[in-house]
Symmetry: C2
Subunit: 419 residues, 2 copies
Amino acid sequence: MLKVGIIGVGTVGTSVVNILKDNADIISARAGIDIVVKSGVVKNLSKERGLDITLTDNVDDILNDDEIDVVVELMGGVEDAFEIVKKALRSGKAVVTANKALLAYHRYELEEIAQDIAFEYEASVAGGIPIINALRDGLSANHIQSIMGIMNGTCNYMMTKMANDGVAYDAILKEAQELGYAEADPTFDVGGFDAAHKLLILASIAYGIDAKPEDILIEGIDKVTQDDISFAKEFGYAIKLLGIAKKDADEVELRVHACLIKKDQMIAKIDGVMNGISVVGDKVGETLYYGPGAGGDATASAVVANIIDIARSGKSRPMLGFDKPMEGELKLKPIDEISSKYYLRINVSDRTGVLAKISKIFEDNNISIETMLQRPASQESANLLISTHTALEKDIQNMIKKIAALDFVNSTPVMIRIV
Amino acid sequence: MLKVGIIGVGTVGTSVVNILKDNADIISARAGIDIVVKSGVVKNLSKERGLDITLTDNVDDILNDDEIDVVVELMGGVEDAFEIVKKALRSGKAVVTANKALLAYHRYELEEIAQDIAFEYEASVAGGIPIINALRDGLSANHIQSIMGIMNGTCNYMMTKMANDGVAYDAILKEAQELGYAEADPTFDVGGFDAAHKLLILASIAYGIDAKPEDILIEGIDKVTQDDISFAKEFGYAIKLLGIAKKDADEVELRVHACLIKKDQMIAKIDGVMNGISVVGDKVGETLYYGPGAGGDATASAVVANIIDIARSGKSRPMLGFDKPMEGELKLKPIDEISSKYYLRINVSDRTGVLAKISKIFEDNNISIETMLQRPASQESANLLISTHTALEKDIQNMIKKIAALDFVNSTPVMIRIV
């Protein structure tokens, strides 16, 4: 019998307990051994949870329990969780975690400690979608050329609703908060930070690259308006928040931002709160993985799959992985060097000659315009909606600064990259 | 070093050799050991293939070679392949196969022989998509409620082109043949048999059910016309050939046929030659796996992933699977007992009273009409395009017989199930 201790028995932890009970028949058969949750750590012992496991508010009750084979860390946060997971691994307990922030900051140190013991985290990226399993096992014959994903359901819900219902950003955010999809402080989701944590985990698996959130380009969806949506529709795009990892020779670019993406691409067809991750391998071509990126049962499904793996391998590292950098000495590409097509929304005073002046600035900066739409924004102002051919990030950023400084430009232009 | 022998060095076999060479760096790292192809069996030894492996036209040169650890069977066909794979397994060689027909007929016998040796077949279903890996590992915490997939790229290409370009079935089939997507005799693809083989493999993994192609409902796309496409568009459906496995209490229904499927479902959004498989687990909900279902490199990507697994596990059965029936005593649901919504196209002589008579027959058979369209088909005839509420297969089949016998009905009605 494999005994599990859960640190943090909230929504996901409760689902883990229930799945191991509800599906004990198939799980025992697939694991080759019975798996039971022995105990769980909670903050508030007096709260009634209806679970028949031992509850404690002391982490050491699990860390020091020799009967516990696998620690499931679902407490969240970074540094406290880091200390606890280190202790668990050092005491010979296998660890399963769904904690993406912990992994975004400390995955390499933990992998180092977990040389001879299983350390698994399928649930940390895209909830119930077995994307880590696909990268490590299903696509193991491939060099990974790119990973591009909808990794945050809240943002995707909001972008979908803005496109389908024509409602403004603020109204949709309020609705998402009421539905429980977005937090009271939504910055972590709509600012792209949640997606960035997940992207860093996937990039570390595919490329062995050890970047931290501070090192990469992270932007959110908070500047997207109905003007942008309508430009997107006019020219056959959807707008999505994507996490992107792309290999280019010995460099990897990592970035999270809103994207205009052609509607016929599969990733553009993923709507609502769902997640989807497209992976291009040099041999297989494009594959895509779609499913629920959050929710207690979906996330717990991935946690339990990891526990089953660990049971199968007798707590040693399941032979599933490429745990060390496999792609040689890859470096993070500097943000400035990223090249992309770009979309710009520029709010200008509606005067004669403005269009000519803006066009001239594009020309002077060697940036080639692909399409242009002009729309009235108010009595006295208009929005110029412009897409470019491929350009360098630093050239676009320079040009945006120059445009923002013009007297007939009313605010800093909004830029969305085109994928 | 792990040594591989390939039986059948055609398109996929050549790709296997090339991937193991091109990506030897990451493959060795991920497998923990070098993997090389030692020899291959071909029919025609005089053909130049540009491969630096030993070629032979005698299967025994591989089966009797003690240095060969893994046999990759890519010869196709059923009975000869069965004998060869049996011999290989019995002589202690691990086997990887992409042969779906072999597996549709003999998987259980081969699994029985392969008790202590690896026998893997990721490439047999949906080419480069790691769907078997997802079922066995990523979704291992779940009872699988349903599997529904686009498992044949030829049919999906044809259905997509019919919908997008408005061209007739015969013209698209000709084009698919010219492009090499369809064989000179296209029956195996357009008749649904190829998809059925793949469905049976997935159903055996998810449900442990040992059905043969003869036991299940298999229909193709050959009766789909532009009338059906236009009905589908009018009412928000796409038409796809799907393989469907669905659990209902202690029964499993298995069927392959053209389906009307709501356009907002992810599986309806998969266009062109691509494959996609939706899996619903009782805990995770719906996940979907998309990618190339055919092609040398894509298929070989899955073959090599299996070889890497075998290298990791030291040729013993990789601990990935649920190899035995896990879902208790599931039975195949009789075709007659399937319930579905249905679409019917009935070609009638354009006379007064016809509509009333047809409606009456529906009523008499207790089948409730949901929508109806009437379109002129010629000077003297019209097509009635009718969708029903949920009904039993046997009731629909009975009613179709009665309708076909009516003097004002010009041919047997065409029926497409609605998913």
